[in-house]
């Protein structure tokens, strides 16, 4: 039976992910203990909240090293929402609170995070955060994450910042919200969803099942 570990770093909303995985019948453990994370067959990295705070927590709990090692040893690893954003190089979130022009992320994949409102092309009559159901335009026909998922499927988003992946081969789906942004990534064993599969009804559950079957 596949053992799934969900990383616990006080970044809110681990419960929804845990509930969804348990509902699907998986053996799930919420943990910040690197030993538990190393032993897992699959690791889920959830996240809701601010980029800078989350990176601070990861450092505080000594999780940045273990995450890098776990992904290096090819364990299937899924970042959800902020969890996906943290996999990248940096974000402009929270810059007002620091003297930096951006906050460093884990840097596992090339790309950066910026706010919808910072993009000059963004339609400013649109509400922020991007909150609600939006569709996925699938861009990788060999995607393991979206196996059996129809192009144009709806999933649930809540975010004010979005990903610009630097390597277009890493992108598994894009979504339109004023602009086109990268809504899912897939690079070998590293997967990421900007949306919340645990809140996306049946489609979301299929996506989680796909991930746990890798």
């Amino acid at each position: 039976m596949s053992k799934i570990a969900v990383i616990d770093y006080d970044a809110g909303n681990t419960m929804s992910v845990m509930n969804a995985l348990k509902y699907l019948g998986y053996d799930v453990e919420l943990s910040k203990d690197p030993a538990v994370l190393y032993k897992a067959d699959h690791v889920v990295f959830p996240g809701v909240g601010a980029y800078a705070d989350a990176m601070g927590k990861l450092r505080e709990y000594g999780l940045t090293g273990p995450i890098k090692e776990i992904t290096a040893k090819k364990t299937p690893f899924l970042g959800v929402c902020l969890g996906m954003q943290l996999l990248f190089e940096h974000s402009t979130e929270n810059i007002g609170e620091t003297d930096k022009d951006r906050i460093e992320g884990l840097g596992l994949l090339p790309g950066s995070i910026m706010g919808f409102k910072e993009n000059a092309s963004f339609d400013h009559t649109l509400k922020v955060p991007h909150m609600g159901w939006n569709s996925l335009s699938l861009t990788n026909k060999d995607s393991k994450l979206f196996k059996g998922i129809a192009d144009g499927s709806f999933v649930y988003f809540v975010h004010s910042f979005y990903l610009n992946a630097a390597d277009r081969n890493d992108i598994a789906a894009v979504t339109e919200y004023g602009i086109t942004f990268d809504s899912a990534v897939e690079h070998e064993n590293i997967f990421g969803c900007q949306f919340h599969p645990e809140k996306s009804g049946d489609i979301g559950m299929e996506i989680l099942k796909n991930f746990c079957s890798i």
């Binding site: 809110g12 909303n13 419960m15 929804s16 509930n19 969804a20 348990k22 509902y23 809701v48 909240g49 601010a50 509400k127 922020v128 955060p129 991007h130 909150m131 609600g132 159901w133 939006n134 569709s135 144009g152 709806f154 649930y156 809540v158 339109e176 919200y177 645990e198 809140k199 996306s200 009804g201 979301g204 559950m205």
Partner: protein
């Protein structure tokens, strides 16, 4: 394609869904998890659970219900009713709710919005507003405590303030229209939606397909809420979405 949201609202008392108007003749209408799961299966985009339990130990019953819903229903849900402090937010969010709606407590102490937003994130904080047209017809004022006390505060200004304080969403109920089945107050909805940069959920008055269309086209609502219309099976969400789709409103089918 970004879609508009259809949100059923369930009144819950002592951990059970209830049906009835104005808190009289309440009838048991089922288990929140079953009713919620059913709505999810039938196309609801989110759920709102409004707790109307009066007793002082209500918190435990609500927490229990929230936990069970979170374990079995996998679309976003908001919990409101009697939320007073940041601690209430914490309890309900910890139990598994995605958002918490606050109404009277925010009027008494607007700081609760910013405290909850900074602690848990704006996306978890819904400011629920009950508004009624002024007697002279000029604009609307907000009401407290289930719509009983006129605060004399302008509704549009209050919504703007709630947004500035950090609310992530506004749940706007028209007291004039609520229960009438004659349509939402589109003027009110538009007035609020046009001054805040966060989503606005229109509530109060839904009775026919056209009302929902108007709420989106005229009212500029991002989402719509309805209760008895769906509960009494006077309208199926799937039929509503078909209608809206035919009228070029983007909906998740």
């Amino acid at each position: 394609m970004f879609t508009k949201r259809i949100i059923p609202c369930l009144d819950v008392k002592d951990g059970r869904v209830v049906k009835g108007t104005n808190f009289i003749n309440l009838r048991d209408a089922g288990d929140p998890v079953e009713v919620g799961a059913n709505y999810s299966k039938n196309g609801a985009d989110e759920l709102v659970f409004l707790d109307i339990t009066a007793s002082s130990d209500k918190r435990n019953t609500v927490v229990d219900m929230v936990r069970k819903v979170a374990e079995n229903v996998f679309i976003p849900f908001t919990v409101g009713g009697g939320i007073r402090t940041v601690d209430d937010f914490k309890t309900i969010l910890r139990a598994g709710a995605d958002k918490v709606a606050v109404n009277s407590a925010a009027i008494d102490n607007p700081q609760v919005i910013s405290d909850a937003a900074s602690k848990f994130g704006s996306q978890c904080v819904v400011c629920a507003i009950d508004a009624k047209r002024r007697a002279d017809g000029n604009g609307w004022t907000i009401y407290k405590h289930g719509g009983r006390i006129d605060m004399g505060i302008d509704a549009v200004e209050w919504a703007r303030r709630a947004y500035e304080l950090g609310a992530g969403e506004i749940l706007l109920t028209s007291m004039d229209c609520d229960g009438t089945k004659e349509g939402y107050d589109c003027e009110l909805t538009r007035a609020v939606s046009d001054v805040v940069e966060i989503p606005v959920i229109a509530s109060g008055g839904a009775g026919a397909f056209e009302h929902f269309l108007d709420a989106f086209e005229i009212g500029h609502a991002d989402a719509v809420l309805a209760a008895s219309l769906f509960h009494y099976k006077e309208m199926e969400i799937s039929d509503l979405k078909d209608y809206l789709n035919k009228h070029n409103i983007p909906v998740r089918l």
